[in-house]
């Protein structure tokens, strides 16, 4: 009843091309953004339910936001451009370690030339964006094989990136500033001279990043380059015969995707983990991101958020269920049960709706438009 677009006429192409052409959607999104930017910090500040403790912000909202961002990046490559990648964890690691190096000062001794390259520590925001840039450059390099190989074979090629960078960050001590344990701690995070420390501030910083990058991603995928990516995904030969250059389309997809994933990696390391070792960006992370994108919906920005929420929050939620119901099971059993139930739910979901949550959401909206009438 409430969700009708009757009477909403578009008189310009710009209005028709808006991200949310239906007024109710716009109101909903604005309300959500206001709640995220104002409501949640206020709730957290006054310690009201459900933000009575830091736990909700620290363990759920911040990782949710950062992984959503990473999932958007992966979705651009896998969902929009159709290039399967198993190297997302590596690109997160590149973003994280590059940002770490830029944030603590880069020093490259070039003794054989009798000189050295030294860059003073850069502000954190700049470091994070440079981390994304480094990931984009490496992404382009590892995207070059995609011009010759497709599908599962490409997935294997990107897997090489994953293992290679796992090794690099574990073995090349330069990246960890020669820390004996191989673990590095993020430097203090200043945002234009203001120390970002409390969970609320960290949350807001993540939110700003996610909002901006989600908007950029949406703009790209609805524009010319997004159509080129999807054309390559759907029918690469026809796309080429229509003048779309596979080289340009695929490599831009790799670059944009890796950039966003790299930024997410830097945020993950600096804001969520604080101190980390290479294991934080292992193949598990790549697979987790891929599952998020598949379950959320390939080729959908909204799907990236839904997938991230499902994969991240469901286990946390399931963890609480036996305890809340008063079922006496050991912690160990619960963690096993969580794995079983999550796995079963993923299978069920993919059978019921192979196109993921994003499709479910659009079907629901379609039904809602007609409700309470059947058609």
């Amino acid at each position: 009843m409430l969700y009708r677009e009757a009477g909403q006429f578009k008189t310009s192409y710009a209005a028709d091309m808006a991200i949310f052409p239906i007024r109710q959607d716009r109101i909903g999104v604005i309300a959500l953004l206001v709640f995220a930017f104002v409501g949640i910090p206020l709730l957290a500040h006054f310690q009201l339910w459900p933000l009575g403790s830091d736990y909700f912000l620290r363990a759920i909202l911040i990782p949710f936001l950062i992984l959503s961002l990473a999932a958007i990046g992966v979705n651009i490559l896998v969902g929009y451009c159709g290039q399967i990648s198993l190297g997302s964890g590596a690109f997160m690691a590149i973003g994280a370690y590059s940002a770490y190096k830029f944030g603590t000062g880069v020093h490259i001794p070039l003794e054989f030339l009798g000189t050295e390259i030294s860059i003073a520590p850069l502000p954190m925001i700049v470091s994070i964006l440079l981390g994304g840039l480094m990931a984009a450059i490496v992404g382009i390099l590892f995207g070059i094989p995609s011009l010759r190989i497709k599908g599962l074979y490409l997935a294997v090629a990107t897997l090489a990136a994953q293992f290679f960078f796992d090794w690099v960050f574990l073995r090349v001590k330069w990246f960890t500033n020669y820390a004996p344990s191989g673990s590095v701690a993020a430097p203090d995070f200043y945002f234009f001279g203001y120390l970002v420390n409390s969970p609320i501030e960290r949350y807001l910083l993540c939110l700003v990043f996610v909002t901006i990058f989600a908007l950029i991603a949406k703009n790209l995928v609805r524009g010319n380059i997004g159509r080129q990516w999807m054309a390559i995904r759907d029918m690469d030969i026809a796309a080429e015969l229509m003048g779309i250059r596979p080289l340009y389309a695929k490599l831009t997809a790799f670059a944009v995707s890796s950039f966003i994933v790299g930024v997410a990696g830097a945020l993950w390391a600096f804001i969520y983990l604080g101190a980390w070792e290479p294991l934080a960006f292992s193949i598990d992370r790549s697979l987790q991101l891929l599952f998020m994108v598949i379950i959320g919906g390939l080729g959908s920005i909204l799907g990236s958020f839904l997938g991230a929420a499902f994969i991240l929050i469901l286990p946390i939620f399931l963890d609480q269920v036996p305890h809340a119901l008063g079922v006496p099971v050991t912690v160990e059993t619960v963690s096993h049960l969580v794995f079983i139930v999550t796995g079963a739910l993923i299978c069920y979901l993919l059978i019921v709706e192979p196109h993921g949550f994003a499709r479910l959401w659009s079907i629901a909206k379609e039904k809602l438009r007609l409700w309470p009438f059947p058609y």
Partner: protein, 278 residues
């Protein structure tokens, strides 16, 4: 070379008034082209030309090498021998997108639409070559990028109007009926504003009504925009009605070339289609 003016024969008008169409110089020349896949000879020593503004049909029995010929023309296959001259420029090896940027666009025998995209996006994708704004502007989707997007949207809406597919503008093309998909594909090819439009069996699998519509679109495109059309088609009625000149291939060789009337009377063509009694 002097441009000669041809009147379309009365029979070809198909219920539609034809003004004097100017058939100009040769826009595309195929010279002694041969193409082989390993030991299989798809095309053997074929030469013909396409003049500016004409509708040129390529016909022949199944497996005659017609689609291979189109693939050679738009750079997807590289001929083993022979040359292609388009707009006076001789070409050797080339990538399909270069042919596209020179103004050759095409449709496909088996639909090759972008199934995950809407009709509108499919046709907009046809304008990819014409959109110049870089990645950063597009990321903002504002100012010049938005203006460019709107400008091209207007052009695409004209094509949508012309092909009468307004009602499926936002529908995903994968779910459309076959006839409409063919029309969307024509729209996508037209969005490139081609000088030479290659149509690979535009009427395959269509009923009479849809064929009439499609013929009308092809004639209008040729007439009003002056687009040169080369088409492959099996429906002889359509071919003989709408084309100016016909080239006939059989087993990769050219067996006849000329106006529909000439080709129809050619004994080798009759033999190729009907067989020879022994």
């Amino acid at each position: 070379m002097k441009a000669d003016v041809q009147e379309r024969p009365e029979t070809a008008s198909a219920g539609h008034v034809v003004a004097d169409r100017v058939i100009g110089d040769v826009v595309l020349a195929v010279d002694n082209v041969s193409l082989a896949f390993g030991g299989v000879k798809a095309i053997t020593d074929v030469s013909f030309d396409i003049r500016k503004g004409e509708i040129r049909a390529i016909i022949g029995p199944n497996g005659a090498g017609k689609t291979s010929m189109l693939n050679v023309i738009n750079g997807f296959y590289h001929p083993n021998q022979g040359t292609i001259t388009f707009k006076g420029k001789k070409r050797s090896q080339m990538r399909p997108y270069i042919a596209a940027s020179q103004g050759i666009s095409r449709t496909f025998q088996n639909l090759a639409l972008f199934k995950g995209m809407s009709t509108l996006d499919n046709i907009m994708a046809g304008r990819a070559l014409k959109m110049r704004r870089g990645l950063l502007w597009q990321a903002l989707h504002w100012g010049p990028a938005l203006a460019e997007e709107i400008r091209h949207r207007e052009a695409v809406e004209k094509i949508i109007d012309f092909l009468e597919i307004q009602h499926i503008r936002k529908a995903p093309v994968g779910k459309l009926p076959y006839g409409l998909q063919k029309r969307v594909e024509l729209g996508r090819a037209l969005a490139m504003e081609p000088e030479l439009l290659l149509l690979d069996e535009p009427m395959a699998g269509m009923n009479l009504e849809e064929k009439k519509d499609m013929s009308r679109y092809i004639l209008t495109v040729n007439d009003q925009f002056g687009t040169t059309v080369a088409l492959i088609e099996h429906d002889m009625g359509v071919v003989m009605d709408i084309s100016d000149r016909v080239v006939v291939l059989e087993y990769g060789r050219k067996i006849a070339d000329g106006t529909p009337d000439e080709v129809q009377r050619d004994q080798r063509v009759i033999d190729a289609y009907l067989g020879i009694s022994h």
